[in-house]
């Protein structure tokens, strides 16, 4: 009897010592990107002019996504750092060029991983290669490629463009007292995109993008024409319409969204 009582007490202690958790959980999840077929044909306005736009091609090159537990309100809160050492709860370190005109799921080639903590915001990394270095491959390292036709009452505007983020987007420091401000990574990261979900193992992250928003406020008529008669967006900061489009690509409201589908 004594032996039984002793064994019982020991079992109870062993059980008690094994129960509990430190809280939280590490998770792995798949991720898919979606464009929208609604972006193939849409109407928009710019500078008082209404355009009917048909997109034949629109793609976005994604370098990765980092999810944060901290909600951010501004467009860019980081002064100079490309990322902070704390606050991230999940990450998707995978390259994917997304067809922004397709409703079909486009899976990322790697799993995302992180904590099962509530995600309040995420950073979308664009392009390829080291995020804060200039490369010699900018010609082939386009973040966005698009092609289409816009028309309004005054005419038709076949257009095309590509957006690269390299020396062509380099910004000077804000002041001599802040030589480290305005690093190139700030141009390559769409940060602080609002989100609200809790990742879980086996679930699927769905990243959606609306290519129509890239052209919000873009006046196609002001885009310079080339010899073919195609309006080609300037890949740099020298043309206001191109800058408008570049800023739209990097907007953290209304362009990109992420939801999580639990299994």
């Amino acid at each position: 009897m004594k032996e039984h009582a002793f064994l019982l007490a020991m079992s109870a202690m062993l059980t008690a010592s094994c129960i509990g958790t430190t809280g939280g959980e590490l998770v792995e999840f798949r991720a898919e990107a979606y464009g929208s077929s609604a972006s193939r044909v849409f109407a928009m306005s710019a500078q008082g002019a209404r355009y009917d736009v048909q997109l034949a091609q629109a793609s976005l090159r994604i370098a990765g996504i980092y999810f944060s537990r901290i909600a951010r309100s501004g467009s860019t809160e980081r002064e100079s750092a490309c990322y902070s050492a704390e606050g991230y709860t999940a990450e998707l370190r995978a390259d994917l060029t997304v067809d922004a005109l397709s409703d079909t799921a486009q899976p990322f080639p790697e799993l995302g991983r992180g904590l099962n903590e509530r995600v309040r915001a995420f950073d979308l990394w664009l392009g390829r290669g080291p995020i804060n270095e200039f490369t010699s491959e900018s010609a082939t390292n386009a973040v966005v490629v698009f092609q289409g036709v816009a028309s309004n009452g005054s005419g038709t505007f076949p257009f095309e463009g590509r957006v690269t983020i390299d020396l062509n987007r380099k910004q000077n420091p804000a002041s001599p007292a802040a030589p480290g401000s305005n690093p190139i990574c700030q141009q390559r990261i769409v940060d602080g995109i609002a989100a609200d979900f809790v990742p879980s193992s086996g679930g699927i992250l769905e990243l959606r993008m609306d290519a129509r928003q890239w052209f919000d406020g873009v006046s196609f008529s002001e885009v310079p024409k080339d010899a073919r008669g195609v309006h080609v967006f300037v890949d740099g900061p020298d043309h206001p319409t191109s800058v408008q489009l570049f800023n739209n690509v990097r907007k953290n409201r209304g362009v990109y969204s992420a939801t999580f589908r639990t299994p």
Partner: protein
């Protein structure tokens, strides 16, 4: 249990005791002192156990039985001790003969006087392993004066005589702590880095929550930037450790700062006299040489020892070179007093592999025994001298000790890779330069401690009272730089501190025995901590810098808002006061059963880095309680001591590892509860210790588990030893087989994770023939690939290659050593 009290006197057989014409009695060649059994402390009685000891022609104790018993505890203590003795055999007309003699062991509790009654001549006949006993002998009693041991504080007070279990393979003296229940030792920092200690549900890191001392000299380093209370016991030569006392809780008023989870005191001594030399060669190009010297006519506490060691280490970047020297002299003062002079010197230079990511290992990007940063490692030096004196005057025992310790230390660690070096606007543009921490610390510690313990008879019982003090002063200089991986040059100064700390404590302690078999021990301790910290890098950023005067890349700034000038330094001073009641109730023994209950409060002084000017420092306070049963039994020549202990502790401010800081940082309060079972079995040819600890540790505010601490720890140490039936050149060959088994359950890790289990088997086989010995030891015999320390945090080792950073927590680990073989050859000359 070694406990308490004092020795008190053991018989040492002097030479040339004639029992009959032509007969020379056996004389002790090596001897050790018995322990006063802790379960008897409460009674505090003097007792004399008389053993009948048969010594063969080779001088070995072949049989020992109790002639005059004083109960199982005293009997066992005497039997265990005498079995370790070696003799020069009795001789008749110059020819060795077997003999049986009576050996009285006298035990007196502290601060009892030495009183060895003369032993009547023995006239016993007997046989030892078939060897006829030829003659009666009359050994002469010789007193050996011993030091008083501290009073036992209940079932959780483990006084561990190393004895035969010293042969179980261990990496260093710190490994001896595995003989105490509930302890897990890990080390991610390398061969010269202190072990991280987990005890009873505490993550005591490198000493923050355990008060370490060696022969009474404190080892914990107050104000150490790497870890406040850092305790590196690698300077201790394992062969010189005679016993170890681990008190698992703050139950003894003598325990001062850092005794949160408990305390560990190493007691040095050298039983084997003469000059011993040992050379070890082993795996990973490991070489070790130890020279030990114990003058044959001096006590076991007079000795000298030198250790030289080098290894390439298992896996990448794990090499180490170290040397240690320890010398102590014990002299007598008056009839029963003694003094000791102790000097130690130690230096080590080592590399460290640090931690690696499990996902990298699984993906083949990193080796299990690999490293990311070969610049990790460090150097450490320690020099100390100490002197103490113990004397008695009537019924009062006096003790006084002074010590001086000089420490130097450099530690380079990188836990997070290339994660923390954020670009700030005022800095020139830079990429991640690497998170390697380079800490440099030098400390001078001076201090002393002492007590007076008095006993009186009252209510027909022995009553005791002790008053004592401890005082120490620590002056440190410490810096922490971040070092660029590309250039090895420091690019940032994180910390530049010069703390001057004083710790003065006083206590009153007593043992009250109102009736027989009931003892209430305890008292009150008070500690005052003062802090004077000069922060040499008090300003690291300027909220509103002037465009015409940007702070640039400098770490420590000499300007405030809008460019106003200020010195970059800031001095902060404050003080704290702690009152620490402690008590133990002991009831028994009843048929060998002792029941104890203990309560105590402990304290850990605040890390100087958290000191705020004139704000009472929020030191951490622990409340601990335990209830236990200790039972002792003798079965003929065998003895068994078993314990069952339930315990609980509550800490108001715990420490949890912070990978970004590379050290433990303050967190919220924690509570832990658990159970310990422990047994020690002794037999003439077997020494077995085993224990299991179950514990649950949780945060008070969230109820979640405290990370990193193991919930289940099991350990078994076994030594089997005997003479072979054959002899070589008429000399016996004594062989010893020993092994140590460890099991550590799954540890809770951050983010709901659990670690892998740990199961290791270490073993050794040794043989002694005459003055020679050979030992073959193997650690991790099963060659299990195991993760010794495991952590969950964010690190980025990818960014250095231009890849996308890893920013979310992932599993990291330090690898346990693979199977390792070590061959030791030894010789002892001039011993007697």
């Amino acid at each position: 249990v070694r406990a308490v009290a004092s020795i008190l006197a053991v018989l040492l057989f002097s030479a040339n005791v004639a029992a009959a014409p032509g007969l020379i009695a056996p004389t002790a060649k090596t001897h050790s002192e018995p322990e006063y059994p802790s379960p008897e402390i409460a009674a505090g009685r003097d007792a004399t156990v008389v053993l009948l000891v048969t010594i063969d022609r080779e001088g070995h104790v072949v049989n020992a039985t109790v002639d005059v018993s004083q109960g199982p505890y005293f009997d066992e203590a005497a039997l265990v001790t005498v079995r370790k003795w070696e003799f020069f055999p009795a001789e008749r007309d110059g020819v060795p003969v077997a003999a049986r003699i009576k050996v009285p062991f006298h035990f007196a509790p502290p601060p009892g006087k030495i009183a060895v009654p003369p032993d009547p001549a023995s006239h016993e006949h007997g046989k030892g392993e078939g060897v006829p006993v030829d003659e009666h002998v009359h050994p002469e009693d010789v007193r050996v004066v011993g030091r008083t041991n501290p009073t036992s504080r209940g079932a959780g007070d483990f006084a561990i005589q190393i004895g035969e279990l010293g042969q179980v393979p261990r990496q260093n003296a710190t490994g001896l702590m595995n003989l105490a229940p509930g302890i897990l030792l890990t080390n991610e920092g390398g061969d010269g880095h202190a072990e991280q200690v987990f005890l009873r549900g505490f993550d005591a890191r490198e000493g923050q929550d355990i008060a370490f001392s060696v022969n009474g000299v404190p080892v914990n380093e107050s104000g150490n930037l790497h870890a406040n209370g850092y305790a590196d016991t690698h300077f201790v030569i394992p062969e010189l450790v005679e016993s170890l006392r681990v008190v698992e809780g703050p139950f003894d008023p003598r325990q001062g700062n850092y005794a949160v989870a408990g305390s560990a005191e190493y007691n040095l001594g050298l039983v084997r006299r003469g000059v011993s030399a040992r050379t070890t060669l082993g795996s990973f190009n490991t070489q070790r040489m130890v020279l030990l010297w114990g003058p044959k006519d001096a006590s076991t506490h007079t000795f000298g020892g030198v250790e030289l060691y080098r290894t390439d280490g298992f896996g990448a970047n794990r090499g180490a070179k170290r040397a240690s020297a320890i010398a102590q002299y014990e002299g007598t003062v008056g009839e029963s007093g003694s003094y000791r002079l102790l000097a130690t010197a130690y230096g080590v230079d080592y590399q460290s592999a640090g931690l690696v990511r499990l996902d990298d290992v699984r993906a083949g990007r990193q080796d299990f025994y690999g490293t990311y940063d070969v610049n990790q490692g460090g150097q450490s030096t320690r020099f100390s001298i100490a002197a103490d004196i113990e004397s008695r005057a009537k019924d009062t025992l006096y003790y006084q000790q002074v010590f001086v310790t000089a420490r130097g230390m450099r530690v380079q660690e990188n836990f997070t890779g290339f994660l923390l070096d954020a670009q700030s606007p005022v800095q020139n543009p830079h990429a991640q330069r690497g998170d390697l921490i380079d800490r440099s610390i030098s400390t001078l510690t001076v201090g002393g401690r002492g007590f007076a313990r008095h006993h009186e008879k009252l209510w027909a019982q022995k009553q005791e009272i002790e008053v004592g003090y401890s005082a120490r002063y620590d002056a440190s200089e410490a810096t922490q730089h971040r070092v660029s991986a590309a250039t090895q040059a420091p690019y940032k100064l994180d910390i530049d501190n010069q703390p001057k700390l004083a710790d003065v404590g006083a206590y009153i302690d007593g043992a009250l025995r109102p009736i027989e078999k009931v003892t209430l021990k305890g008292g009150l301790r008070a500690n005052l901590f003062t802090f004077d910290v000069l922060d040499g890098c008090a300003v690291k950023s300027v909220r509103r810098p002037l465009p015409s005067n940007p702070p640039g890349d400098a770490s420590c700034l000499s300007q405030g808002d809008f460019g106003t000038y200020r010195e970059p330094v800031q001095r902060r001073t404050t003080a704290s006061f702690a009152l620490l009641p402690r008590a133990t109730l002991q009831v028994g023994p009843f048929s060998g059963f002792n029941f104890t209950a203990s309560y105590g409060k402990g304290v850990r002084s605040i890390d100087p880095i958290y000191v705020t000017d004139d704000v009472e420092t929020p030191f951490a306070s622990v409340s601990a309680y335990e209830a236990g049963i200790v039972v002792g039994r003798s079965f003929g020549a065998s003895s068994l001591i078993a314990r069952s202990i339930f315990f609980g502790t509550s800490v108001d401010r715990d420490l949890v590892f912070n990978q970004a800081e590379g050290r433990n940082t303050l967190s919220s309060g924690t509570t832990r509860a658990g159970w310990i079972g422990a047994v020690r079995f002794g037999h003439p040819w077997l020494d077995q210790a085993a224990h299991i600890t179950l514990v649950r540790s949780s945060f008070d505010d969230t109820g979640t588990l405290v990370p990193y601490v193991p919930n289940v720890v099991m350990r078994s140490d076994t030594a089997v030893h005997h003479d072979l039936p054959w002899k070589l050149d008429k000399k016996p060959v004594h062989v010893k087989f020993s092994n140590g088994l460890s099991f550590v359950g799954r540890r809770a890790l951050p983010y709901g994770q659990v670690s892998d289990t740990i199961f290791t088997l270490d073993t050794s086989l040794s043989a002694t023939w005459g003055v020679f010995m050979v030992d073959l030891a193997a650690s991790n015999v099963l060659n299990r690939q195991y993760r010794l320390g495991e952590y969950n945090f964010a690190s980025d080792w990818q960014n250095q290659n231009g890849a996308k950073p890893t920013l979310v927590p992932a599993r990291h680990f330090s690898a346990g050593p693979p199977r390792s073989l070590f061959l030791t050859l030894g010789v002892t000359l001039g011993g007697s």
